[in-house]
Structure formats: C-alpha cells, structure tokens
C-alpha cells in the first residue's frame, strides 16, 4: 500500500497499489490542493497593490448593492411615483432632497416619474450581470478555443484562428447594435452579442501560450505516459494559462459594461430593465442637459466609471502576475 498520510507525487502513476475509490479521492484532493495553492498565491500577489485592493473593495461594494438592491432601493425602479393625465410629465419632476427639503426622493424623480436613486441602485444589477456573465463566457470560450487550437495545431488551429481573424474584422459596437436590433432589445441578447465578439482576444493570446507550452517537457512526458488529449489540456495546459484567462476575464468585465452602456444609450437597451446606460439614454431623451438636471445624468456615469476602472485595475494587477517584469 502507498503511504496514505502523505500522498506520493507519483500517485498518478502507481495505479496498481491503490484501490480504485481511494485513488479517486486522492486525485481529487490533490487537484483541489493544487488549485487552492495557485489561487491563494495569486490572491496574495493581487492584494499586495493598494490600487488593486481599492478596486476589489469597489467591486465588492457594487456587488453587495446589486444583491441587496430590493432592500436598499426605496421604490421599484420602473414604478411611476405619481399619476397625471398627460402621457409625458416633463414639467412635473420632483426635485431631490438636497434642493427641496420636503422631497422624499433622494435624487428626485425622472421626467417619467421614476425614482432616480432606486434606478441607480437597480442599475448595478444590470451592469454586474452583463460584466460577470460576459467575463465568464469570454474567458471560458476564449481559453477553450485557444488551448484547443494551440495544442492540436494544423488544420484545427487554422480553422479556429481564421474564425478569430474574421471576428477581429468586426467593429465591436456596430456589431452588437446590429445583433441586438436583430434579436430584440433585451439584456440577455446584449450579453450574448458581446460574448459573440469578445472571446476573440482571449483565444488569440491563450493560443500563443499553448503553442509554447505544448513543447515543454512535462507535456511530452504526459503524452508518453499515455495521457489523453483532454487530460493534458485540462490538467497540464489550463492551470498554466489560468492567470492569463483571469486577466482577460477582468478586462472583459470592463469592456462588456462599457458596451452595454453604449448600446443602451443609443436606445437599444432592455425596456423592461433599468441599467445605467438606459438612465443616461432617457435623461438625454428628456433633455435633462438643457434643464441642468445633473442629478439625473451625473451619478449613472460615475457608477459606470467606478465599476469599469475597478475591472481594469484588477486586470492590471493580474498582468503583473502573468508578466513579472512589470513588477
């Protein structure tokens, strides 16, 4: 029997000595430990930098706001706060608390009679949903495609990279606009349209990493030992490109939120959901600029900026992990 207290590093190789179920458990334990160690080390490096720490706090703050939005927001974001006969109640908006002390609305109401503060709170949900989903899929698809192309090479590589080249020929925002116009204006379609284009950069970078990784001795050793392609890709290549995937994931959060805001601002936002982009769009549509109603259009932009810059800073923190020369 192999010593069970301290699993040998050759645990993978001496199959005969351990019985089936125990071997499975050990393998999982070992995998788990490796992942925990890698992630822990990266986390420590990441939180070393003050700016990155600030960025993470900001991100965590907005996440908390998004999760607890129903408890924070005093009103439903798309509930009219008062009724009039007129279809549009432009002349009737309520001033914010700091201007009219009798007002019950922290940031006043929009020209349509919606509570601005509640819209701002709920807007964080749309932004983070778009950002996180796009990031996960961008990094996931990009890594998978990049590893497959880089590891197999040849025709598979050629085909996949031509698709990536084609995607690089598409302008981001115009493509998202056309896709959303085609699929209908909903948040899910916006997310989908962003993902369709965004994985291209991750795929390209991960591929070039995989190209060099597959020539390394440990991959050759695994091949000789008879490991399957999937095993090599998932166990030997993936952990090595992980920081790069995270880096592109973090950047994808930022780009996706910017893209969503832009598409919504143009007027293709989800009509049933409030996002910071749709807030800016409606403030523009009701000429809030000309009326000087800055409490309507200044806060959403600041929120977008804060979340996006946090994404960029976390990404930059990761860049220092993947490229030690920057440190």
């Amino acid at each position: 029997m192999a010593t069970q207290d301290e699993p040998s590093i050759f645990a993978d190789l001496d199959d005969s000595t351990v019985d089936e179920s125990e071997e499975q458990v050990n393998r999982w334990k070992r995998n788990l430990r490796l992942w925990r160690e890698t992630l822990g080390e990266q986390w420590r490096m990441l939180t070393n930098d003050l700016l990155v720490k600030l960025a993470m706090v900001t991100m965590a703050f907005f996440m908390a706001v998004a999760i607890f939005a129903p408890f924070i927001a005093p009103h439903q974001p798309l509930n009219r706060q008062y009724e009039t006969d007129a279809e549009l109640i432009i002349a009737d908006w309520v001033d914010p608390m700091f201007i009219d002390s009798e007002s019950v609305y922290v940031l006043g109401t929009t020209a349509e009679g919606f509570d601005i503060f509640s819209q701002l709170i709920y807007g964080s949900r749309a932004a983070l949903l778009v950002g996180l989903l796009a990031a996960v899929f961008t990094a996931g698809i990009g890594t998978l495609v990049g590893l497959t192309a880089g590891y197999y090479g040849g025709k598979i590589d050629d085909t996949l990279m031509r698709i990536v080249d084609f995607l690089y020929g598409m302008p981001l925002l115009p493509t998202v606009i056309i896709l959303v116009a085609l699929l209908g204006p909903s948040l899910w379609n916006i997310i989908f349209a962003i993902i369709v284009l965004q994985w291209r950069s991750t795929a390209r970078v991960i591929r070039s990493q995989a190209l060099s990784l597959r020539e390394r001795p440990f991959v050759k050793a695994a091949q000789v030992a008879g490991a399957s392609d999937w095993h090599i890709i998932s166990r030997h290549l993936a952990p090595n490109v992980l920081p790069m995937s995270f880096l592109y994931g973090a950047f994808a959060i930022a780009w996706a939120i910017l893209a969503e805001a832009g598409v919504s601002f143009i007027g293709l936002g989800d009509p049933n959901r409030v996002s910071w982009g749709t807030m800016l769009q409606s403030s523009r549509a009701y000429a809030a600029l000309d009326f000087g109603v800055w409490w309507w259009f200044v806060p959403p932009g600041i929120c977008i900026g804060l979340v996006v810059i946090s994404g960029f800073l976390i990404g930059r923190g990761y860049e220092e992990i993947t490229n030690p020369e920057l440190r």
Partner: protein, 324 residues
C-alpha cells in the same frame, strides 16, 4: 516563407475576410424581423404600386438570387439604394464618411502626440507619484464612457456656459465644397468639443503602451552605455530610449485607428455629428438595410484594412520579424 509570399497570402486572406463579413451581414439583415418595405411603402398606395416598389428592390426574389446579386454589386462597391430616401448607398457613404474621418483623425493626432509624450515621461520616471497619477488618469480616461464625458462637456460648456454648440457640424447651408467648409471657424468651433473628448479617451492607450515599451528599452545595455558616455538625461530619454520604444506604438496605432473609426458610433450620436457611425445607427433603427449594410461594411473595411497595414508595417519596421 519569403516576404512576397507572405504579402500575397495576407492579401488573399483580406479578400476572404471581406467576403465573410459581407455574407454574414447579408444574412443577418435578411433574418431581421419587421417588414422593411413598410417604411417606403405608404398605406395609401395601390397594391400594384406597392408591388412595383418591392420588386424594384429585388425583395421578392429567392434568397440565393438576392445573395448573388449582392456579391456581384459589392464587387463594384454598389450597395443598392436606401429604402428610406431612395438615394444610392454609395452617395450616403460619401456624404458621411469624410465627416467621420476628419473628426477621428483630428482627435487621433492630438491623442497620439500627447499620449506618446506622456508615455515617455511615465516610463522614465517609473515608480514615482507622477507615474502612478498619470497611469490612473489614463485608466480613468479609458474607463468612463466617451459618450458620458461628451454629455458632461455638453452640459457644462454647452448648456451651462454656452461656449460650445450643442450639436452638429454647423456647415449645413454653407456654400462651396466640403473642403472649403471645413476650414471655416464655425466648423472648427463645432469640431472642438467632440475632438477633445475623443482625444482624451484615445490618449490612454498610446500612453500605457509607450510606458511599458519605455521600461523595456530602459533595461537594455545600450542605455547604460549612453549614461557612461556622459550624455544628458534628456538626450538619452528622447533620442535613444523613446525612439527605440516607438515600434510597438506604430502598429498599435494602425490597429487602434481602425477601431476608432468603428467606435465612432457613440460620440457622433452624442454630439449630433453627421458621421458614418451615427448614420449606421439611424439606418438600423429604421430598418434601412442597404444603408446599414453599406455603412457597416465601411466601418468593418477600415478595421480590416488597417489591421492588414499594421501587419505589413511591423515586418517593414522590424527586420527581425520572420514570416511563418
């Protein structure tokens, strides 16, 4: 692989990319819900007149016939007629593209001059508060959406102080050709705000690239040699380090310019700039397929061609690049 065969292969790839973008676009627009003819065909029309118009656009033909006609016309840069105004799409493009180019190029030149200079300084003064501050500013500039900065600028300087116009180029109704119009003070006055906002946004990219490129160059031996020779710091900074750090900027600039034209959509919408991006959005919103298709192709073509230029430029500027 030799350089010539690399170029030939790259040109072929260019053609294939164009074909792929056009094809995807063609089918996407045919899949779009809503009857495009409802915008041209008014309700009072007799059914015969209506039929005639639909046929004149070729909208009744089977899809593959339409597709072949589309490809044939695309080769001669003929994207059909606007459903909305009946104007040939080519004319629409010629009306709006120059406006986009003049805005983008102005902003781009300003952004790259400022960005590169600041990048040289931040790379040189690495680890100082100046460096940290500049990098954070650059990141902020790239994080806040351009259209939002545009809104704020319009609010403060337009609606508030009244020193900049709220919208447009200010040249409609002017006499003379396009060139004589853009050299008027009215035009420059209208150009100021959008160009400044864009330049502020674009600046971050060359700044950050130049900074990391400078850091790389500064760690090389020849910089120490320069110091040992007793050259002045400024001389080393600009004449030796910066010049060698320029290479990544040039190719990045070509690619970024392509994406800048593609990203013109938002800033043109905010400032009411009659450019190709805004026209594309309007065409999409009113289901004007031919115009949307044509303007999108122009935006995509700019990106594709500039990517191609960047590839060639790289090999030309850096002889160490091998073609494989």
């Amino acid at each position: 692989m030799s350089k010539a065969s690399f170029v030939v292969r790259r040109v072929l790839q260019l053609g294939v990319t164009f074909w792929a973008v056009g094809t995807v676009l063609f089918f996407l627009f045919r899949l779009m819900p809503g009857d495009p003819t409802s915008f041209v065909v008014s309700a009072q029309m007799t059914p015969e007149a209506r039929q005639r118009i639909i046929e004149s656009f070729g909208l009744n033909d089977p899809l593959h016939v339409q597709y072949i006609a589309f490809l044939r016309n695309a080769l001669t840069l003929d994207f059909g007629q606007s459903f909305h105004t009946n104007e040939p799409v080519r004319d629409v493009i010629w009306t709006f593209l120059p406006n986009t180019l003049v805005l983008m190029l102005t902003a781009f030149v300003i952004a790259y001059i400022l960005g590169i200079t600041l990048g040289v300084f931040t790379g040189w003064y690495r680890g100082t508060n100046f460096e940290k501050g500049t990098v954070v500013t650059a990141l902020t500039a790239r994080s806040v959406p351009t259209f939002y900065v545009g809104l704020i600028v319009l609010w403060i300087f337009g609606a508030g102080l009244g020193v900049i116009p709220m919208s447009g180029m200010g040249t409609s109704g002017m006499d003379g050709g396009w060139w004589s119009r853009i050299f008027t003070t009215t035009f420059l006055h209208h150009l100021l705000a959008p160009a400044a906002v864009l330049a502020f946004y674009y600046m971050g990219y060359p700044l950050l690239i130049m900074r990391s490129s400078m850091m790389e160059v500064l760690s090389q031996d020849f910089i120490d040699v320069c110091r040992a020779k007793g050259l002045r710091e400024r001389t080393i900074m600009f004449k030796h380090a910066a010049r060698n750090a320029m290479l990544p900027i040039l190719t990045a600039a070509a690619i970024a310019l392509g994406y800048a034209v593609g990203g013109s959509v938002l800033i043109e919408t905010v400032f009411g700039w009659p450019g190709i991006g805004r026209e594309m959005v309007r065409a999409v919103l009113r289901r004007d397929f031919p115009v949307a298709q044509g303007t999108f192709m122009v935006l995509a073509a700019t990106i594709i061609i500039l990517n191609f230029v960047a590839d060639l430029l790289y090999g030309y500027l850096d002889p160490r690049v091998t073609y494989d």
